[in-house]
Structures are given as C-alpha cells and as structure tokens.
C-alpha cells in the first residue's frame, strides 16, 4: 500500500471547513425487504469537508451516499441537504439532485452522446442554460480534467481513467455544491487510478465539499479531513485521518486496517 498519493505538495489554502451544515442525516434507516442495510445513521457534513467513507464490502457505504441524492429511498429518519428535506416529493428530489454531483464506479457516461454532449445535456435541459454557454462551461471543465481534445469523441473511444474524468467534468458542469464519489477508482487499472485521484485532489484544493466511498487509503490520509468507518450498516468509527489510521479505537476498525494496510 503506497502511503504517498502524490509527490507534489497539496495546496491547502482553500481547504477550509466552515460551520455551515450542508448535509444533516438523523436516525436514518433503510431496509431491503427484511434486511436492515443501514442502521441508525447520524451524520453532519459541514461546507468544505472532505469525508472518506471506508469499510468492508457490504457495509452499506455506497448505500449511504446513494441515499443522499435519493438514488435509494430511506425508510426511516431524515436527510436534509442544503436546507431541503429529502422526502418523496419529486420537486425536492430534483432540487437536491441538481445541487449534488455524483460519480459512479462504472462512470455511467451516456454512450450515445459525445463527450461534449454528455457534459452539456443536464445544464441545457435542467438548468436551461443556452447551448453556447453550456458548451463553454463544458470545455472549461474538460480542460480542468485535462481532456479538452477528446470533446468530440464518444465515451467508448476513451480509456477508463479518461471516462471517469469526463464523468467528474459532467457532474461539475451542473455547478454542484457537494460531490459524491462512489468508488470512483475501483474499476480502473493502477495507472489510471492516479489520474482520477489527481483530479479529485484538485477539486478538494478548490474547497469542494466531498463525500468519497473509496479504498484509496493514501487519498484518505492526505486529502480527507474526516474518515468514517462503516460495518454492518452502521457507522463504527469516525475520526480525523491521522488519529483514525494511527490510533484506531474499535476492534472492527483495527481488523479492517490490518487487512488492507497489512501487506
């Protein structure tokens, strides 16, 4: 396990955590049939936080962040995102989804649209941005993720790492205030993981509020300001990365860390 993620110095000047609450989850529970997937989750996210959620598979990490933009429905408890209560009201759901960007493990780019069209689709149809302006925004973010020259290609022609960076750019085009990452590097080759993580680091440097489900412990150590460890559908331990890695409290956490950092 490489501990150092990037050789350059991370610019922490904009990485400030404010007192403003952006996500407030209280007493959230979710069941699949009779199976209790998420158990009494309480979580408060402040503006500018970079939270890494880790844990063994089946712990409910993905489920947790998918509940935040209502890709999954929770059955009990309350989720408030940017002051909007997440209920079954479609208006609230659409409002929250346009504030919250999301990147998936398998990128989920739209294969029938070019890279540029992928990035302009939602701004044009959801935000009603004029085509020209949407394209300019898209090119701006594609430059940021360092693939402006691929704008006219189709997703199928790009490598996995490039596709994931496009997916990040696509989310950014909606100007989200919060970004959710669901194992963004798990489907990538080692060479490509770095380019995606670099993009995520740059995003963090600009002060974006981020929630990442990831197994990249180097990223957690260097970029995150808080690490949440989940197991069996509940939050077992959360702490600042330093303390979390160097001095884990619960046995479950110790076991997990020894397994992923041990070799």
């Amino acid at each position: 396990m490489s501990e150092l993620l990037t050789d350059r110095e991370i610019d922490r000047s904009h990485m400030e955590v404010s007192d403003e609450v952006v996500i407030e989850i209280t007493g959230m529970n979710k069941w699949f049939g009779t199976f209790h997937v998420l158990r009494d989750i309480n979580l408060t996210v402040f503006r500018g936080e970079r939270i890494v959620v880790c844990g063994p598979s089946g712990a409910g990490k993905s489920m947790l962040i998918r509940c935040i933009n209502a890709l999954e429905e929770h059955q009990k408890g309350q989720i408030v995102v940017e002051g909007t209560i997440l209920s079954s009201d479609l208006k609230n759901i659409d409002k929250i989804r346009s504030e919250v960007g999301m990147c998936f493990q398998h990128f989920n780019l739209f294969p029938h649209l070019t890279i540029l069209e992928n990035c302009t689709l939602a701004p044009i149809w959801v935000r009603r941005v004029p085509l020209k302006e949407a394209q300019e925004t898209a090119m701006h973010f594609l430059e940021k993720v360092k693939i402006p020259d691929q704008a006219q290609k189709y997703p199928g022609q790009l490598s996995g790492g490039q596709q994931q960076r496009v997916a990040i750019a696509r989310s950014l085009c909606m100007r989200p205030r919060i970004m959710l990452f669901d194992e963004p590097t798990s489907a990538l080759d080692p060479e490509m993981i770095k380019e995606v993580l670099d993009t995520m680091i740059e995003l963090a440097e600009e002060g974006m509020t981020m929630l990442c489900v990831t197994h990249e412990m180097g990223f957690a150590r260097q970029v995150a300001n808080r690490v949440i460890f989940m197991a069996e559908g509940q939050v077992v331990e959360q702490n600042e990365p330093e303390a979390f890695f160097d001095n884990p409290q619960s046995d479950r956490t110790k076991l997990f860390l020894s397994q992923i950092l041990g070799h």
């Binding site: 960007g101 998936f104 989920n108 689709l121 939602a122 149809w125 959801v126 189709y154």
Partner: protein, 433 residues
C-alpha cells in the same frame, strides 16, 4: 534455463500483410475456399443458383406483353418461341397495373394519390435523415391531415378542424392545470380532444364549409384498393404503433400498479389474439356495438386494429431494449437531476430504441406484409384484386405473373426498410468508432 532473457534493440515498424490474405485472392481464399468443406459448399451453391436462373430466366424473358387475354398470350408465345414453350404472360400486368396500384380510385383523381405519395416521401425525409433542416418536421406533422384530405377529398375544413383537436387538448391542459393541478391537467388534455373529435369536429367543419367552401371531390373508402390501400394502412400503422408501443412499454415498467396492469393486460390480450380475428371484429362485430346509423369508416377501423395489434408487439420489443440498458444509465440521468420524461427522451429511449432497431424494423416489415390480410374481410388490396382479375374471363387461370408483380412491389418496400435499418444501425453505432 539458459538464454531465455531477451532484449529487443530496435522496435519493428509496420509491414504489409502477406499476398494470401490481402487483395482479391486473399478475399476468395478467406470467404469462398477457406477449407475443402467451404470449397464444396461454394461449388454446390453456385450450381444451385445457376439451375434456378436457368429455369426462371427463360420464363421471364420468353413472354408476351401485348396480348389481351391469357389465350392470346399463349398463342403469341408459341408463335415467337416455338410450341410448348412456357413463358410469362406479362400482358396482364400491363393491362391491370393501374388497378393493382390504385384499386378503383377514379382515374382522373390519380394525381391526388401520386401527390400524396410524393409528399409522404418529403415528410419522411427529415425523420429518416437528421442532416436535413429540422424545420421540415413541421411539414411532417401537418402531412397526415393533408394526406387524409388529398386521398379522401371533401372539405378542407375537416382535417384542419381535426388538427385543431390537439390545440384544444393543449388549451384544456393549460386551463385545468392552472385551475386544479397537474393530474386534472393530464386528464383534461386526454378527454377534451376526444370530445372535440367525436361530437364537435364534424358540425364545426360543416359550419365552416358552409361559410367558406373549399374542397375537392370526395372519394369513398370502397374505391380504395391496390397498393395505395396497403401503403395507407401500412404507413399509418407503422407511424402510430411506434409511439403507442413506447408508451405501452413505459407503462409496463411503471411503478403505478393500475397503469401497469392495464398495459400488461392490453399487451397480453392483443398478443393472444390472431390479427385475422381482430380484422373480423373490425369489419363485422364493431358495427353491432356502434349506435345505429353511425358510419365508422372501414379503412379507419382496419387501421385502428392493425395499429393496436402492432403496438402490442412493439411494446415488447422496446421492453427488451429497455431491459438491455445498464441500471447505471438510469442512475446517472437521475443524479444529474433530469426528470422522468427528460430522462426517457434524452438518455433512455435513444439507447433502448437503438438496441431494438432490428426488431422494430422487423415488426414494421411484418405489419406492412400483414396488410394483405385485409383481403379476407373484402378490402381490395393487391391480393384481393388478384381474385377480381382472375374472375375476368380473359385472365382466368393466371397466377404466377400477378403474384410475382405483387411480390416485387412488396419486396421493394420491405427491402428499402431493411436497408434503411442497417444504415441507421451503422450510423448510430458509437461504440468503436
């Protein structure tokens, strides 16, 4: 294990492939004579094709084009090619091709059918080829009404008033939406046009016509026939069954239990009943349920049945396409904040329809060929007309020539559809370009 280490000093450049795998020889070798089994099959197939052509071509060529009865035909062929030569009697096509194409449509009005067909091509063009200017779609939207007027004639006000039904639906939606919310709006948008079409359209158009009379000579449905009838039923069915099929497929996937069961019930019922049965219902039974005195046009009834039949199959085809899409596509669209209809229109349907193109076009072709079934309920489509033509003493006993001609026309239509679908598939293939 000595000597297994290896370092290449210079990287090799590109070199051309060997002669045996490139050019004509390479192609022949690869595709026709790849193995001794392939070679045998190639030779057998070529022989088979040669025998068929040897038998059929003389029949087609040693023919008579000018006779006025089957007997004259045979005499002319005997005279020209010698006794006992079997040749085609194309004279029947020459004499009756107008009938096979237009049915009993009045010949001085043929221009209307011709114009309608040309305008059909014009209105299809922007739908089939996205490179054409999008403004042409306005004409495509107006075409059904224009075509109806051209073919059936009568007052120009009727199609205009019928088209106004959509405007009525829109206004009703706006009004009800403002007054009582979205659900009321949706219901009003569905009900208002139906009310308009059933009770108001006819009197309004009569009234307008009496004020300003614009019209052309009406032609009744009984005079429709031949290919014109097949194309009318086929194209209408094709154009309507795709959108209805999409809605049924979406309904079947819906989370609303009642809507879902309605769609499933409809699809399964229609798929469980033969088209012939539906056509008989259209031609005989339907009138029993209508209030006495209503004259519900037979072609309209048939078109409705054919459309319903085909849309049920279409729904299942599209459901297949929907099922083939990864769940991530739905999630990505959701996470970007696209609502249900935008998600379907911009992300899901373009992909689902693309996957289903071969099956959809297969359905279209099937539908188009199924239009010949209307001959069973007495409509004079080309197949129905062959019986009429054979009933003529002059042409009694002629079979191959008529069916051959009809087959050729159907083949042109169906083959064009098939080629277009292949073109579309290639064009939409964004996977490995």
């Amino acid at each position: 294990m000595a000597g297994t280490s290896f370092v290449r000093k210079e990287l090799m450049g590109q070199t051309p492939p060997p002669m045996t795998s490139a050019g004509i020889i390479g192609w022949l070798r690869q595709n026709l004579f790849g193995s001794w089994m392939n070679s045998v099959l190639t030779i057998l197939s070529v022989g088979f094709i040669a025998i068929i052509l040897w038998e059929v071509l003389p029949w087609i060529v040693r023919s008579s084009w000018t006779a006025s009865s089957l007997r004259e035909c045979r005499e002319a062929i005997d005279l020209a090619w010698g006794d006992h030569v079997d040749g085609a009697c194309w004279a029947v096509i020459r004499e009756r091709y107008l009938q096979l194409i237009y049915g009993f449509y009045p010949s001085e009005q043929y221009w209307r059918a011709n114009l309608a067909f040309i305008l059909l091509l014009v209105s299809l063009a922007p739908i089939l080829f996205p490179a054409l200017p999008r403004q042409m779609l306005w004409f495509s939207a107006a075409f059904p009404f224009l075509c109806f007027w051209l073919l059936w004639g009568g007052t120009l006000w009727l199609p205009i008033v019928a088209a106004l039904g959509f405007a009525v639906g829109y206004l009703a939606f706006i009004a009800a939406n403002r007054a009582a919310g979205q659900l009321a709006g949706a219901i009003a948008a569905l009900l208002a046009p139906v009310v308009w079409w059933i009770w108001l359209a006819a009197p309004v158009s009569r009234g307008l016509d009496s004020v300003i009379g614009i019209g052309i000579e009406p032609v009744e449905s009984a005079k429709f026939g031949g290919f014109m009838l097949s194309v009318t039923i086929g194209i209408t069915g094709i154009a309507l069954s795709l959108p209805i099929g999409i809605l049924l497929a979406l309904g079947r996937q819906s989370g609303l239990v009642i809507l879902k069961s309605l769609c499933v019930g409809f699809i399964e019922f229609i798929r469980g009943v033969p088209l012939i049965t539906l056509l008989f219902v259209a031609s005989t039974l339907l009138n029993i349920f209508m209030p006495p005195g209503t004259n519900f046009d037979i072609i309209l009834r048939v078109v409705i049945m054919v459309t319903l039949f085909s849309s049920a199959y279409m729904a299942e085809v599209i459901r297949g396409g929907l099922a083939a899409l990864p769940k991530g596509q739905f999630e990505a669209a959701d996470s970007l904040g696209l609502d249900y209809w935008k998600r379907q229109r911009l992300v899901i349907m373009p992909q689902a329809l693309k996957i289903s193109i071969p099956a959809i076009v297969g359905n279209f072709i099937g539908l188009f060929k199924d239009t010949t079934l209307v001959s069973i309920i007495g409509l004079l489509d080309p197949i129905g007309l062959t019986n009429n033509i054979r009933a003529d003493v002059n042409w009694n006993g002629i079979v191959w020539e008529l069916y051959g001609f009809i087959a050729l026309l159907f083949f042109i239509f169906c083959f064009s559809m098939s080629r277009y679908s292949m073109y579309l598939e290639r064009k939409l293939n964004t996977d490995h370009r």
